[in-house]
């Protein structure tokens, strides 16, 4: 995650979906060699292609969808950024970090978490300096010392430069300062994970959201065993019905249906959609994915249901405060759901073997967006 848009990053994440596609070179009907090249290419791709669908475990105890094999976790993350490491901010990197922290293994790769921690440390240092400046300023003002006050200008200038550098700061210089400075105390919680001096038990898994699993099952990229049906994999419609039921009554304003309609709307327009509890919104939209740019949009979903309590302007104001502080645009996403009658007509006709029924259902919903932005009259006046 260190070098954004580096050649390595761009070439690593080429696939938007965890689906294998056979790509053939151009075939010219009058040129037999091109046929031969195409045939060889086809055969070699068929041999090397990953033909097994990713197996996702549905944990009924905590209603979560888990991927535990390292290979599958990496594959799902690298092809479209699906899921979230259960012990990481996004990409599953816990094992790497734990190996560095507990076993002292040296790893050249810097994880996103380490960069975040380093930047927080820099921000802490900046704030200390700023407090010093404010204190001096107060003191000089009380003393009415004009000269000294003027001298503070250069300090202020330096500080603002220091602040600007933080958000661009790359990987920490030495292998994370905090680990080298703090005396190493081993926690009993960590001891339990050690297999031998070089290996740790990996307790991290990739967790997929209900929206992601429904989308990936519809795309035929993963399979999930249905324990209520002899462990046969869920079909799209079976999974849809199961999830809808899990989130409440079967009705047009079912939480899962609303969220999935919005998720699918942005997915089909090419966005990388992730959930966004951290910034008090429902989804964040990445143009390509987390390693490339920060997510520029935070989406808040609003339904036309009378069941949903009225959200007043203070509510939107609070969300905006959070969203604007992380330099995102706040998008209000209005979703209109069909009447119960229209809905039941399609819902009751769903055939468990026809995944397109899901799309028919989604077509009953309409979505409109609006950007919410604070307007400050004094700053906007020319």
């Amino acid at each position: 995650m260190s070098a954004k848009n580096s050649r390595e990053t761009v070439s690593k994440f080429t696939k938007p979906l965890p689906i294998e596609v056979i790509q053939l070179p151009a075939v010219y009907p009058q040129n037999p060699i091109s046929w031969l090249i195409a045939a060889i290419s086809f055969v070699s791709q068929v041999i090397t292609i990953r033909n097994k669908k990713i197996h996702v475990i549905f944990d009924e105890d905590d209603c979560s969808f888990k991927v535990t094999s390292k290979k599958d976790m990496d594959y799902l993350w690298d092809s479209g950024f699906y899921g979230k490491g259960s012990l990481s901010r996004s990409e599953p990197t816990w094992l790497l970090r734990a190996q560095k922290r507990i076993l002292g293994v040296e790893e050249p790769k810097t994880t996103g978490e380490e960069i975040v921690r380093y930047r927080r440390q820099l921000r802490g240092e900046y704030k200390q300096e700023r407090n010093k400046l404010l204190q001096l300023e107060r003191q000089y003002k009380l003393e009415n010392n004009e000269e000294k006050l003027k001298e503070l200008e250069s300090m202020r200038q330096k500080l603002s430069e220091q602040r600007d550098r933080i958000s661009k700061a790359g990987p920490p210089p030495t292998p994370t300062q905090s680990t080298s400075e703090e005396p190493k105390k081993s926690r009993p919680e960590d001891e339990e994970l050690i297999i031998d001096s070089r290996t740790l038990r990996n307790i991290e898994y990739l967790e997929l959201t209900p929206c992601e699993v429904l989308f990936l099952v519809y795309m035929d990229a993963i399979e999930i065993d249905n324990s209520n049906n002899d462990n046969h994999p869920f079909t799209t419609i079976e999974l849809l019905k199961y999830l809808v039921d899990m989130f409440g009554e079967v009705e047009p304003n079912n939480y899962l249906l609303i969220m999935y309609a919005v998720y699918f709307h942005y997915k089909s327009l090419g966005w990388c959609v992730k959930s966004d509890l951290k910034f008090s919104s429902d989804f964040v939209l990445y143009q390509r994915g987390p390693p490339f740019h920060h997510a520029a949009f935070a989406v808040t979903v609003l339904q036309n249901s009378s069941k949903e309590p009225f959200k007043n302007w203070t509510h939107f104001g609070s969300i905006y405060r959070v969203v604007s502080a992380v330099k995102k645009t706040m998008v209000l996403c209005y979703i209109d759901s069909p009447t119960q009658e229209e809905f039941s007509k399609v819902w009751d006709g769903l055939d468990k073997k026809d995944p397109e029924g899901l799309i028919k259902l989604l077509n009953l919903y309409t979505i409109q967006e609006m950007v919410y932005k604070r307007w400050t009259p004094s700053r906007t006046r020319m």
């Binding site: 979560s64 979230k84 012990l87 734990a98 919680e189 967790e207 997929l208 509890l277």
Partner: protein
Amino acid sequence: MITNRATCIKVRTNLVHYNLWSDVSLVEFEEETLHEKLMLLKGKNPKSEEENSNGYDYVLPVLKQTKLTLQDIDLIFQHLTEMEGYEVGKIVLGIMDFDGTVVYYNIHPGVQKPKNS
């Protein structure tokens, strides 16, 4: 839907192996006015700056759509203080999303002077 216990276990794992808390244990109590058994996590935050409450913090794991009223929170403070034998001045809400993300918010009984940041 996801049970209290399952949420609790997930938040516990997050505290221990992501935020590196130590000595995390479960605190449970019955409360008639609340329908379910209440579960909180008690543990030591390595970054905690507060000196009181024996160095322990209390985390209430909840789901994204859990409804919690001020009365509920007040009851929790009362119970905790009673059980622990000292005034608990802060609980941390551990709010969990459907992708396993947990975000933490501090709750104090009453107005709290903001930290100078």
